[in-house]
Symmetry: D2
Subunit: 309 residues, 4 copies
C-alpha cells in the first residue's frame, strides 16, 4: 500500500499541519511578473489550474464556485446594478460573472499585473470567456486602491474586491484595511454593495477572514450591513470566506424566490450560488462565528494583516 512519488509536483504549504503536493500533468506556462510568480498547468481531475506565488488560485473544476460567490451575492442583492468595479480579479471570471447581469452598463476592472492578465487572456480563455472584449468593460492596469481613491464619487453600485491574499511580499497587504474599504465606499453609490474574498474559512486558519469581518463591522456608519459568507471549494482543500458589506441592501432579506426572480429578469445562470443555496451560503458554522469573536481585529494601514505572520 506504500507508494512513492514520481513526476512533477507543486507543493503548497497552507499551515504547519499539511503541505499539498499537486500533480502537474503538464506545465503550460510558468514565470515571474513584476508582482508575482505564476504557473498555469494541467492537473488531473482539476484540469487547467493557475498558481500564484505557490498558492492554488483557480481550476477549471470549481472556479465557478469561487467566482459566483465572489460576484453573485453582491450583484444580486443590489436591485439595479449598473456600474461595477472589479478590483484585481486577474482571471477575468469575476468580471464575467458580473457581466451576466443585463443591468450592467459599465464594468471597470483594475488589476495591477498587466503581464499576468495578458497570460490569462492567452492561456485561460475558459475563465474570461470573452469578458475582456465585452463593450461594457474597461480594463485598467494600476493599483486598485489608488484608482478608487482617485475616483471618489464615481458611484459604483457594486465593488468586487478579488485580490490575492495579503502575503508579506505580495501586492495586496494594503487592500485589506479599513482605509481601503473606506476608499471602496467613497467610490460607491449611496446604496452600493462591496464584496471581497477574505481568505480561508477552515479551523486551521480563520485569521484573515475573522479580521476582515471585524474590520468591516467596525465601520458601522459606512456599512450598516456586514454579512460574512463562505463557499466550499474542492481545489482549495478548504472552505473559503467572503464578506459582503453594504450601505443599504441586506442579502439576508432576500428570499429564494426573489433571488430566482432577479436571476431570471437579468439573464443570470449559476451552478453553485443558486436561489436554493443562497441562504446556506450565508449560514456559517459555530467555529467561524467564534473565530470572528476571538481572532477578529480591526485592520488598518498601520496594522495590516500579513498572511502567516
Amino acid at each position: 500500500m506504500l507508494q512513492q512519488a514520481t513526476g512533477l509536483f507543486i507543493a503548497e504549504t497552507h499551515t504547519d499541519a499539511v503541505t499539498w503536493h499537486f500533480t502537474v500533468e503538464q506545465m503550460l506556462v510558468s514565470g515571474k511578473t513584476q508582482y508575482q510568480e505564476y504557473q498555469i498547468c494541467e492537473i488531473p481531475t482539476f484540469g487547467k489550474t493557475l498558481f500564484l506565488d505557490w498558492k492554488i488560485q483557480s481550476s477549471l473544476l470549481d472556479e465557478h464556485i469561487f467566482h459566483e460567490c465572489m460576484s453573485q451575492p453582491a450583484m444580486t442583492v443590489h436591485p439595479h446594478p449598473k456600474k461595477v468595479a472589479v478590483c484585481g480579479g486577474g482571471e477575468g471570471a469575476t468580471l464575467r460573472e458580473a457581466l451576466k447581469h443585463r443591468t450592467v452598463e459599465k464594468a471597470v476592472m483594475i488589476d495591477i499585473d498587466e503581464e499576468l492578465v495578458d497570460m490569462v487572456k492567452l492561456h485561460m480563455p475558459e475563465w474570461h470567456q470573452g469578458a475582456f472584449e465585452d463593450p461594457r468593460t474597461t480594463l485598467l492596469h494600476t493599483d486598485a486602491r489608488k484608482y478608487l481613491e482617485e475616483n471618489k464619487g464615481a458611484g459604483f453600485d457594486v465593488v468586487l474586491s478579488d485580490l490575492p491574499d495579503p502575503l508579506e511580499a505580495g501586492p495586496a497587504v494594503y487592500l485589506f484595511t479599513k482605509e481601503y474599504f473606506q476608499a471602496c465606499a467613497d467610490a460607491m453609490s449611496d446604496d452600493g454593495v462591496l464584496a471581497l474574498q477574505a481568505g480561508a474559512a477552515n479551523m486551521s486558519y480563520p485569521y484573515c477572514f475573522s479580521s476582515v469581518v471585524a474590520t468591516l463591522r467596525d465601520m458601522r456608519d459606512t456599512f450598516p450591513v456586514v454579512r460574512p459568507y463562505w463557499a466550499i471549494m474542492t481545489t482549495f482543500l478548504l472552505p473559503w470566506g467572503f464578506v459582503l458589506a453594504s450601505k443599504k441592501h441586506d442579502p439576508l432579506e432576500l428570499t429564494e424566490e426573489e433571488v430566482a426572480k432577479r436571476f431570471a429578469a437579468r439573464g443570470v445562470n449559476t451552478r453553485y450560488y443558486t436561489p436554493r443555496f443562497h441562504e446556506s451560503v450565508f449560514t456559517l458554522p459555530e467555529y467561524l462565528l467564534e473565530a470572528i469573536d476571538r481572532h477578529g481585529r480591526v485592520l488598518t494601514d498601520a496594522k495590516p494583516f500579513i498572511w502567516g505572520a
Copy 2:
C-alpha cells in the same frame, strides 16, 4: 519563497490531483493490527491525530465535527432513543455522542478490531472520554454485519454505522451494500433511524457518497426517508458525506426550536451540529445533487463499492 521539506511526514493520496503531506511532530504509536495499519501522532495545529491505512481519520481539532454529525442528527430525530448500536466507531467518540442522550439505556458498540480499540483506549482518551466505561455500554469485537444479522429483531432505535471507507483490502467493503443496510433495518425498531458516514463529499470524489445515497433510496419500502447531509471538515481537507435513512422520522421536519428542545431535555451539548446549524447540514450544494444523479449506483454484495477502483 521556495522551501524544501525536513522532518517526518505522512503522505495521503486522495485523488490523482493531490497528495497531502501531514507534518508529524511526534509519532506516539504506530503499527499494524490484523485489519489495518495505524498511526497515532501529534500534528501541529491538528493536535493528536489518528491515521488508518494512510487515511486521516480523526484529529483533536475537529473530531467533534465528524462525530457530532455521525451521531446527533439520527439520535435527535428519534423521539426517544433507548437502544443504540454503533457499528465500527473505534475511537469511541460516536459512542460518546450517542451516550450524551439521557434517554439511552443500552448502547452496543461492535468493532471488529480489538487491537485498535485497545490502542485507542490507551492513547486517545480525549475521544472516548470514558464512554467505554459507561454502564450502558457493551463493547463487542466481531464483524458488525454478522452481529446485526444474528440479532434480527433486536429493536435498535438508532444504528450508527461509523466504518472505514470501503478500501479494497480493508474490512468494510461489504458494510456499504444493500444487504448490509437491510441487516441494519432488520435489527432496528419500527421507527428506527440509521446514519452512516458515506465518504468524501467534494467535487473530486463524490462517488462513494453518491452510491450510498442511491442504494438507500432504492430501499424505499425499508427506508421511506433518506436524507444525505454533510460536514465541513478541516483535517480531511474536504467536506464529508453522511446519510440518514429512517423508517419514519424525517429530520427535515425538525425545526431549530425542536432540536434545541430535545437537546435541552436530554442534556446534549454540541459545537458544530447545533440547532441553528441543523438545516444547513442537510442543505447540499448542486454539485452533490448532480453527482448523486449521475454517479449513484445501487451497491450490492455482488457489486460493492471499492474505493479508488
Copy 3:
C-alpha cells in the same frame, strides 16, 4: 528544524528506499517526444538539468564526470581511434568528448529521438559545444542497433553506447543484450573498443550493472578484455557503472604516464578522468565485485534486463 515544502519539484523514485525531490527553480521546457517525456530545467546548485522519463540524466554541475567516463577510457586505450560511433548520447556531450581526440576522422552519432536532440541543440548548448557542427560528425536518427546491424564491417575503432536505462516502456531494452553487443563488435575494427553506461553502481541497485558485466564476460571470444569501472556522480546521488569491452587493448595496462602522453598528443583535457585518477576509476569496491558474482546474469533478447522488474 521541521520545515515544509513550497515550490515546484520533480520527484524521482530510485528504489523503494528513497525518493528524490529535485527543486525546480525554473522550468525551461518540458514535453513528450515519441519516445520519452523530458524536462529541461534550472536546479539550484546543479544548474541546467535534463530529466528523461522522470530520471535525472545530466546537469551542468557534473555532466563532465559522466561524459568523460563515458568516452575517455575507451578513446584513450585505443592507440589511434579514427572512426567512432556514439549510440544514443542525445545531449551531444559524449560526442564532444570523443571529438577531443585529434585522431578522430569520423564520428557517427545514432540517436533515435530526433525531437529530443533538436531540443538539446536549442536548449543545451553547454553540452554539445558545437559537436553537432563538427565536420567530422554525422548525426543519424534511427535505431542504433539497427544501424550497427546494417553496418557490419564498418570498422569503428570505438563504439560508445550512451543509452537510457532499459526501462520497460523505454526505447533501450534490447540495447543491453548479448545480441546488441555482438552487433557492436561486428561493426568494430579488429582492435575495437566498446564502452557503455551500465546503470547505478550503488549497493541498493547494482543489478543492471552486474548483468551487463556478466553478459560481456560471457562473450570472451568476442571481447577478451572486459573492465567494469565507475564514476562518482553528485547529481545522480549515487556512483554510476560503466563497462569497457575490448577486442585487444586493456586499460589496466595503461600507466598514468601513458594516459597523460596520449592526452597531450591528441589535445585532450579532462576534469575527472585524469591520468592520475585513471587507475582509481577501474578500482571497484568489494560490494560491486560481489554483486557481479551474485546478481550478474547473461542478458539476451529473450531474457533482457528490465529496470525495476
Copy 4:
C-alpha cells in the same frame, strides 16, 4: 508513469537542489534527547536506520562502510595501537571496529548523549555487537573535548572522532576546530593517529570537508601527515569525507601487502576497506582537491564551521 506518495516518510534536505524522502516501513522508536532528535526505523532495502536531527546517520545496509573507514585506516597505520579514544560514535560501531584489533588494551568512548547511547544499546545491537560490554571498553558520557583537555598526556595511540556534523544547534560545532584537534593531539602518544569524519564529499557540498583538511594542514608541526580520504556510501546518497592526521605514520606508505599482514596478525576482517581497496580510499577526484584549495579555511573556536551557513 506518474505516481503519488502514500505512507510515512522522513524528509532530509541536503542542499537547495534536492530533498530526500526516505520511506519509513516501520518506526521503531523516535524522540528527543537533551541534544538531538532521533528516529530508529526500518527502511526498505536499507534495513534498520538511524536518523539524528533529520540527517540519515547509519543503516544496516552500509554502516560497515562508514565505520570501517572511520576506524580502520587510523588503526591499521599505527604499528601497535594499544590505547584508543572514540569521541562520539554513539552507535558503538566505531568502537566495534577499533576493538577488532587484538593489540587494543583500552578503548575509551566519550559520547555526551547518554540517552541516545541507551537507545542504541537497546535497539541497535547489530551495530555495537557487544562492544559496550567488551572488558577493554570504558564508556563515558561527557563532552569529548572537555575529556581530552582534562586528559592531556593520556597517550592515546589512536583517536577516532566520529561526531555529528557541526549543525548550528547541535553539540559538535566546537569539535571541528583547531583548538579541538590540538586537544586531541595533546592526549595522544608521540606517534598517535587521529581520524575523523569530516562531512559530505560530493560536488554540491564539499565545504565542511575542505575546511577540516585545511585546518589540519595548517597544524603542520602537530600533524606532519594529513591525508584526506573518502568512502562511497549508498545510504548517504553521496560520498563521505574523512581525514587522517598523524604525528608520524603515513597511510600512503602502507602497501596492500602490509595492510593484509596487519589485518591477519590482529584478527581484523573488513568488507569495504580491504587491503586491495586501501589505496583507492586515499585517491580523491580532482574536484575534491580543487575544493580543498578553493573552499578550505582554517577553523577556529572564534570562526568555526556551521553546517549550511
